[in-house]
Symmetry: C2
Subunit: 345 residues, 2 copies
Amino acid sequence: MELDDRKIKILKAIIQNYLETGEPVGSRTISKYSDLNLSSATIRNEMSDLEELGYIVQPHTSAGRIPSDKGYRFYVDELIREKENEVTEMRELVIQRVDRVELLLKQLAKLLAVNTNYATLISGPQYHQTKLKFIQLSRVERGKLLVVTVLEGNIIKNSIIRVDAELSDEDILNLNILLNNSLNGLTIGQINLDVITRMKEQAGARGQIVDAVLSEIAEAIRTNEEDLQIYTEGTTNIFKYPELSDGEKASQLISTLEHKELLKELLTEDDGAKKKNEIQVYIGSETQVQSMNDCSVVTANYELGDGLRGTIGIIGPKRMDYDKVVSTLRSLMNQLDDTFKKEER
Amino acid sequence: MELDDRKIKILKAIIQNYLETGEPVGSRTISKYSDLNLSSATIRNEMSDLEELGYIVQPHTSAGRIPSDKGYRFYVDELIREKENEVTEMRELVIQRVDRVELLLKQLAKLLAVNTNYATLISGPQYHQTKLKFIQLSRVERGKLLVVTVLEGNIIKNSIIRVDAELSDEDILNLNILLNNSLNGLTIGQINLDVITRMKEQAGARGQIVDAVLSEIAEAIRTNEEDLQIYTEGTTNIFKYPELSDGEKASQLISTLEHKELLKELLTEDDGAKKKNEIQVYIGSETQVQSMNDCSVVTANYELGDGLRGTIGIIGPKRMDYDKVVSTLRSLMNQLDDTFKKEER
DNA sequence: TGTTAGCACTCATTCATTGAGAGTGCTAAC
DNA sequence: GTTAGCACTCTCAATGAATGAGTGCTAACA
């Protein structure tokens, strides 16, 4: 038995109806509100087939049908025709970017949460591909050096390191020159033993400071790398959907969103195929995260001009409005692209 | 009619029992589990009096009694004898402080959330009392200056400003010297028109850069001031208490905790009397925040060595274990004090 | 005068029962 | 292949009885 044209139409009608109402949908409803002009009995037969094929399920005998994960998957893959879906307020927002990436990300997330009525999460960009642009040491007090590291895209990292040795102003100046000459333009990944050895040679007596500084830079960058910054917004939106908000489930879900460890996998798992602007949909158990088996997640990889890449995700009930979410995300990505291309000109 | 000794004992018994069970407590329970050796009938008479006096209420006829806000207030004010209550893991934690204040705060909050099983929130320190320690301008690229500001306590703020004028290395050096000479040791509040005018005079042709830098510094500091940093932890703990976790309430509460605007009031309202280490208890409607009328909030003002002050709060159901929470907070404050005094030696 | 036993009464909660409604599957007729 | 009709299933909401916890009051007691 195969999906013929009529079955597909019925399936689509079922899913769309369910997306709207959240109630199991019966044969009579489809018979009345579709343009197929078939009696409920006929629909029933077809539904029976669709169930056998695994696209829909019955919560219990004598209830209507609801889409299965497979059904949703088919719907998302085959039946959605994206429509344009402008994200409001986008324009004004992006203007403020430049040096406050986290702020921008948070605002983006909030924007999406408000626009879609689902929960949003966004991962901070990962920096290991990003080039060093500027490094500066300065002494703030005896025995403590301030290290300021600026990455492409004007991401700024600070840290304070303790040094036992006494450094003169001239020492610091020289170190600064050395650091900038040797490291600017490199990515973290490119700072290998070779580079380090060469620097140490040039630093002479100050070699150990070089070590400390380098590890501190690595550390500063890794800080956002390891415990990957993830921002969530609109988590309380999940209370809007009864199937997620009752009791235990809500608790677990909110908890998952609060403790970001699990989310990390969610946002980074498709690392290999991390194509820019590609939008992924994970339905139910496709997410691999236990507490999200009643949810769907839509993710997109963003890029902010200078190679700063991260992932943005929208979490909602399985019966989320995939169409709207996908097109909203797509539109957001495009607007981001536009804005950042313009800036670079 | 007044609270005599026996009434107090009964009230205490009622409250303690209710704190444990969360169920209305009846006369028979008190009669059995207190050392008063009174029959339930006598207790009933006393309870009737206590109700008339406003310390307890009946959810409905023929239910037991539960404490009223007034009852809790009396309990908190008069009946708690604090016991020592070490916060575990404290020691290892504080070591990491130094330059990552936000991280420390988050960890503290988490620690408290885990220790108490309530939700925790903590406000980042406010900086207007904090002195500038070090300022540095550097050029990262054409037309853009990086401003690094270090405050007492090694709080570091960065920002990037655009400058139209072309600045030589020497200009920058001079500006740095001027800035540090003029501003180091001052608090933001102390940077008045007088200081600014004097600096502009000295800067001569570069006066407008001084303006830009100063406003950027003010901005950088205000960023954490205005949209006051507030971190929450353990918000999902509220699901552990049925009286908070059912339906609408949980939603509103979590929402309040997510959108930090309202919390600001909560943490800063006692500004005037902001005595260090003072612990405040707000019961039910005493919090002024609508969505928290079923909660109690315990706050304490912390101080991290260098005059960095903020507030930490614990949010739980009205029947929270005040005793434990208060003593835990107290102990935490003491340990913080100890640690930071030691560091300063 | 304070304390207690006893009793009638109230109210929430639980459980089973019932009926309505929605929806199905199957069969027989078109 | 489509449809009307019917018996059947299951959920849900309403009903009401039983239960039990707890009270308030009264009368008796020390």
